[in-house]
Subunit: 335 residues, 2 copies
């Protein structure tokens, strides 16, 4: 019951955030429709399925809000909001191949429905098509920003893959991965509207910093939710990360507080992906009572505060308020 | 023995083709070395492995030969020769995930060694990095050419994936797939040097046509070799295509010559990927004695002739001779 009330509140807040750009978000959906109506049927089917499966259009909203905040009046905002979501979608599709996951946002993943073959290809198609969409308008700088973000995201995934199954994950590596995997695309989404007009170019760095902080905060909360949320809210099993051999900040912070034997047993969970050496309930209990979640929360809040600090230099108005509210709501998921 | 003599002859011929650009091909290898020495270790390991596993550097050689033929003296030829090979390598890595293959050029495939996870990511990294390498020099037109080729290649793979396991493949669809999957990158490799200098821009279309014809000819011969070559020459099992449910031109041409019962049994091979309904030897025998391979050969020769016709408009000299020789040698593999 409590969760439902919370969801409703969140839904209301999200509408509030998106309010100033609701009309543009509809245009983004139209853009997808036009784009995929022309595409190969298999691309259309898979991409439409993944795009329709409950994504909150957070990254497009960031592009649109910043564009409006910077007084942009052309059509690039909608195009690049769509492009950013297409890149995000391609990442999700390829990630699910990687994890062998079969649930994403409570739905069957693309690779479960269409197989690895199709999923790899549709992901490839989406990545490549986004480059085309940048080239059509000759927006080389936007393209450079997105290519760099994509490259760093991929490197983040490769790093994450390398340490999978290992318990001895350094905190610095974890932060580096979180930044690359998640925060880079947030940063690109926030900064690319600065490139639409010469007069706003000077804001690029600050917008990048803002997006990066929001992104890290978002990722920290996500990693925490893996231990606190109910399955229905997550749309995937609790402790999915541990099951996939992924050690996140709560576990990194927990380890030094454990006796060697428990540490070793937890290590077996991470390397085997099963809760044989130590039960699910026991792990959850340890994480929830140890105080590490408060520490993660505190850090997420710090990053949100950094984002707010960056935003002080942005043009005042309802769009800036919405950006700050967005950052707050994302943080609030874990509070 | 015969095969060995043939290989030796081919090796000599290939040296002859590459002769005019041997020094530049070395530079391409240096480029890879520099590029991957800076990359994430896992990217370096996988990419170096796949790049080193016996590729003939055909596509880079095309870029270099055309560049020299057009009198280009800068450094872009080496960079884009490397870029084209990186795109090709990314395709190979992702293709192997798709097919579940475990052999490529006689070596274990990347996904067998490192798993689907790493393979997807390293492929993604290569694709994205090639875009970066274009952006570094601001070569938007080159990028457009390569993005279009990549998009069409991916669409070709998606189409191929859709008809997998089906025996009733239309010849038109087969040709469309061959053109997209293989010929588009050959075409881009041949045409992109025309974009290096304003004076050679007018040759773009003819170079595209040349590359496309060479590419289709190459693919036709490849599909034929799947029925004629020994395992050692192919570096993969004979009739690998059929085993993977892929119907190619020899089978398409064979079907109308079969009685309904044999046709149905062959259909079971394609849908099951096993030779239970009809033995391997029987299928090979049918293909080899039916005359369909002569027909495929004839068509491959037609495409090589078209390429030669296009080449008449190219600047005369040893590079043009080498390009024509390359087309001949590729054809000769199947003679």
């Amino acid at each position: 019951m409590r969760a439902n009330v919370k969801s409703l509140n969140q839904a209301r807040q999200i509408r509030q955030v998106f309010g100033p750009v609701m009309d543009r978000l509809d245009q983004v959906e139209n853009f997808f429709e036009r784009e995929f109506s022309r595409a190969e049927p298999m691309v259309r089917e898979v991409a439409t399925y993944v795009l329709a499966s409950g994504g909150k259009r957070l990254r497009p909203a960031l592009v649109l809000l910043v564009s409006r905040m910077l007084g942009y009046h052309g059509e690039r905002d909608v195009r690049y909001a769509a492009v950013v979501e297409m890149i995000h979608t391609a990442t999700l599709i390829h990630d699910d191949i990687i994890d062998g996951s079969d649930l994403r946002r409570g739905h069957a993943t693309a690779n479960t429905r269409w197989g690895n073959q199709t999923s790899v290809l549709v992901g490839d198609w989406l990545y490549t098509r986004t480059m085309d969409l940048c080239l059509e308008l000759g927006d080389v700088d936007v393209m450079r920003l997105l290519t760099t973000a994509t490259l760093r995201m991929t490197e983040g995934e490769i790093l994450a893959d390398r340490i999978r199954g290992r318990i001895d994950v350094d905190e610095g590596i974890y932060m580096d991965i979180s930044q690359r995997k998640t925060a880079e695309l947030f940063a690109a989404a926030c900064a690319l509207p600065a490139l639409f007009q010469p007069a706003t170019l000077h804001l690029t760095e600050r917008l990048l910093a803002f997006g990066r902080s929001v992104g890290v905060s978002f990722q920290l909360v996500d990693d925490m939710l893996d231990f606190t949320a109910a399955r229905a809210d997550l749309g995937k099993p609790v402790m999915a990360d541990l099951r996939e051999g992924r050690v996140t900040l709560p576990i990194i912070l927990l380890l030094p507080r454990l006796d060697p034997r428990t540490r070793r047993r937890l290590g077996e969970v991470v390397s085997s992906g099963t809760f044989e050496a130590i039960s699910e309930t026991e792990v959850l209990e340890m994480v929830r009572t140890s105080g590490v979640l408060d520490e993660v929360r505190r850090r997420a809040r710090d990053f949100a505060a950094r984002a707010a600090h960056e935003a002080e230099s942005f043009p005042k108005g309802s769009e800036r308020d919405s950006l700050l509210l967005a950052s707050e709501i994302l943080l609030d998921r874990g509070m």
